[in-house]
Symmetry: C2
Subunit: 167 residues, 2 copies
């Protein structure tokens, strides 16, 4: 399961959720994005955000953590059942990364991955390209993160399995 | 300086460089991208990477840190000279994020920002849109990171200053 042939456009996976604490927001910002509105509540009040909010890169990194955790959970389940596990990655890249709304301290963001495109890779018959949209939505229903992520996914048998046929 | 009217397509800024230590690669991966080839040298040898390498999100976060540091340095210099400082951000998003080559433990990556497009924003006469390509290049000259980043930049006078005219 979860070889390229098993994927379907429109399939959606809940990746879990994450609460962004003020402490974690500040710690990430000190290391990677030391802008005042990510570092300090008082400075954030004076900024266009009006309140302490997470670096967009923090949100992106948390999404990646949940993507990896979900993949590991799924692979562990397959191994328990004795089923083969498809190779994934590396990613040839991302498109259209957006942070349409800020993530405020205390917000809980639910992340979802939806498959939006499945494409053959002419130069690589062993894999297919899965394009997925990863979306983060806060507890008020606002989208705070959106990105199109491309990943090479191993084919079950290098292009010779008939769709829907027996394994 | 560095109001939208002061920007030129093709202008390039060295953002500085960063050496990715094995310890920092593993610490970032434990928090945000716990894949074996980011966490453990022996596991990395068995992976398609063959050697411990940084999470792509680690590389992106380091680039953001250098972008912010460079902006703060520049703003401090303007304030020392008594010049006005333009407002920047927030970013409406990123396009075409790529990691064409891995960042290995011990690699030193130099980051550069080049302006590739300057656009009016019809709905916002107070700002213009700067599109810049941020690129990371390792000590062997290989591109390890590339992204197109859009940012709103304050106009000096809201659209009424003639280009090249007196301040």
């Amino acid at each position: 399961m979860t070889f390229f042939e098993d994927l379907r456009v429109g399939a959606s996976t809940a990746l879990g959720h994450h609460t962004f604490t003020a402490d974690a927001i500040k710690a990430f910002a000190r290391a990677y994005d030391p802008q005042p509105f990510h570092l300090d509540e008082a400075a954030a009040v004076r900024s266009h955000f009006g309140v302490l909010c997470a670096s967009g890169w923090h949100t992106a990194a948390v999404c990646q953590r949940l993507v990896v955790d979900e993949r590991h959970r799924h692979q562990a389940e397959l191994r328990r059942r004795g089923e083969p596990v498809a190779e994934t990655g590396p990613s040839p890249g991302l498109r259209d990364l957006k942070w349409p709304n800020p993530v405020h301290a205390g917000d809980t963001v639910a992340f979802v991955q939806e498959i939006v495109e499945l494409r053959a890779v002419p130069t690589r018959p062993d894999v297919g390209l899965r394009v997925a949209r990863n979306t983060g939505i806060n507890q008020r229903g606002d989208v705070v993160y959106s990105v199109l992520s491309s990943t090479f996914i191993e084919r079950r048998r290098h292009g010779v399995r008939s769709p829907g046929g027996p394994p």
